[in-house]
Amino acid sequence: MHGVGIIKGMIETARNFAGSYTDPERLITVQYPEEKLPPVENARTIPFLVYDGVDAMAGLRCTACMICEKECPPQCIYIVKDQVKKPDFVGKLQVQPKVFDIDISVCMSCGICVEVCPFDAIKMDQVFELSTNDRFGGLLVDKTQLAKPNEYFVKLHKTEASEIDARREEEKQKAEAAAAAKAAAPKPTPAPAPAKPPAQAPAAATPPTPQTPAQPTAAPAPAK
């Protein structure tokens, strides 16, 4: 009979009309500014720089090795090395970035910088409300704006962060043990008292990223 298909279709829309009031599966819209979806652990938007401790600039894990700048597909990272070195979490002197800018109007959120970073220094953020009136200056973020504490990273990517933290802790203990062994020979004195801020509590782990066996061959600053 002609018209049956049309009637079937109309029954379907009526079912959806009624269903949108009763069935949450049918009305999946999220009323955005008021309610937000719970964050997904793997989600990524733009990169940020991880630091340990309380002083953001002193605790930056970044060693200005330039790998991310080189690998970034849209070339949105700009780094200038600082001449002054600072000690890292195991007490070794490392280069630090003088300038670390990311143009997030160019960034395409691919996360390749994170994958290639041998120091776990750059990670993906999950903020998405990035709109601004100033389309040039407002979207060019420098290292002070990019720096976020490690606790923030732990909050966002729990699994990955705990893995990294455990590794860094192990690394640190090893380094401390080595330092202690070295120091035990002449005199047991804790060496890195003045140079390093004391509140470097949670920091720990080895530089290479967990799954990627990439070696920092091009890294100007040695990791160990």
């Binding site: 002609h2 018209g3 049956v4 298909g5 049309i6 079937k8 279709g9 029954i11 379907e12 829309t13 079912r15 959806n16 049918r26 999946i28 997904v40 652990e41 793997n42 989600a43 990524r44 790998i67 690998e71 970034c72 597909p73 395409m108 959120s109 691919c110 996360g111 390749i112 994958e115 290639v116 993906m124 699994t159 799954q211 990627t212 066996p213 990439a214 061959t217 091009a218």
Partner: protein
């Protein structure tokens, strides 16, 4: 402007009326992006149609030649932005051929699962857009997007992004499944048939849809083969050619599924083939989600950075949702490809638009264009 009876370069149309020259696009509600068709109309009948594209050209191939091998992967996401994962796969496969890498078992399963999920997304969105072009005011599109959303959630929890997944790597995949992902995927796959049922109740028997699609935009099998058309469009014309079966790339040889073939090659067949393919994709997903083994997801030989394949060339192709998606890469031993070329199914399927549209009306043109299933990101690159 009023039609002028000039148009000297054209033969007089049969009815003797002056032709109406209309430029459909580039800003037109149903050209699926920025695509333009110069159409000459006799009344409402198309007597000439000239596709004009390139409005979205962004130098993809040249950028890839200046980028490292790794750096091109996120760019492939943006080719056909509805199916980023299949694009990833095709490119990763090509470079794997070039560099002699072999992805482990688990990664192969993951790739199959993700690409079949992508196929579901693409086909349901296409049916929605097709009906949108037909004037169904977005209802089928919204239903399709509702389901797509669930699959995109899966993608997000695995790859971190909903559309620009950037997931596959040379020799495997970027990261392993988060806990509970397989169960979530199973439940999505289990619920999908009910959506297909709903979709078919809404559309497949609808007399208006039948009237609009049957016998419209017929593509004969011979013309389709000669024009290099691939994918569901070719199969709707009755040609049995599915690269999943022909090449059995990846581990597709292990799965039991069938390839639906159309009868007449009109718009209705193209619509219906996609619906039937979704059913087959569900079968593959069912098997893959059941059999996926544990194990590593990266080839131990693979390294992320500084990939310098030996000089040589490789062509890798997969059955993308839209057709044969191929990448051709030449290496000169350096860190970036010497030549990089994409075979975009959308572009090649689009080339026969005029042949299908001549003699049809304006209203049919948008429906035929919709049934080709193009994404301008891939057409223009």
């Amino acid at each position: 402007m009023m039609a002028t009876p000039s148009s000297t370069d054209l033969a007089e149309p049969p009815s003797g009326n002056p032709l109406l020259e209309v430029s459909l696009g580039p800003q037109h509600p149903s050209t699926h992006g920025v695509f333009r068709m110069d159409v000459s109309l006799d009344g409402e009948t198309v007597v000439r149609l000239k596709p004009v594209f390139g409005y979205l050209h962004r130098n993809h191939e040249k950028i890839a030649e200046k980028c490292t091998y790794l750096g091109s992967i996120p760019y492939t996401d943006r080719l056909d932005y509805i199916c980023s994962l299949t694009n990833n796969w095709a490119y990763a496969m090509t470079v794997e051929k070039l560099a002699g890498l072999v992805p482990p078992e688990r990664a192969e399963y993951l790739r199959v699962i993700l690409s079949e999920l992508t196929r579901l997304i693409n086909h349901s969105a296409l049916a929605g857009f097709l009906l949108q072009d037909m004037g169904a005011l977005g209802t089928p599109l919204m239903y399709a997007f509702r389901e797509r959303e669930k699959i995109l959630d899966l993608f997000e929890s695995l790859t971190g992004a909903r559309m620009m997944c950037n997931y596959m790597r040379f020799g495997g995949c970027r990261c392993d499944l988060p806990p509970g992902w397989i169960e979530q995927a199973r439940s999505v796959v289990a619920k999908f048939p009910s959506f297909l049922e709903e979709f078919e109740a809404l559309l497949t028997g609808n007399e208006i849809l039948l009237a609009r699609t049957e016998g419209v935009g017929v593509l004969p099998a011979k013309l389709a083969v000669n024009a290099g058309v691939t994918g569901p469009m070719l199969r709707a014309s009755g040609v049995n050619y599915d690269i999943r079966k022909v090449d059995q790339y990846g581990i597709y040889g292990r799965f039991k599924f069938r390839v639906p073939l159309g009868e007449r090659g009109d718009v209705f067949d193209r619509y219906m083939i996609r619906i039937l393919e979704m059913h087959e994709s569900l079968k593959i997903l069912d098997q893959a989600l059941r059999e996926i083994p544990a194990g590593p997801i990266m080839d131990p030989k693979a390294k992320l950075r500084n990939l310098r394949p030996k000089p040589g060339e490789a062509y890798g192709r997969i059955e993308g949702p839209k057709g044969e998606l191929g990448f051709y890469v030449i290496s000169d031993g350096g860190p970036n490809p010497y030549r990089y070329r994409v075979r975009p199914p959308s572009l090649i399927n689009l080339t026969i638009l005029e042949d299908m549209c001549l003699g049809q009306t304006v209203a049919d043109v948008v429906v035929i264009l919709g049934s080709i299933d193009i994404v301008l990101g891939e057409v223009d690159r």
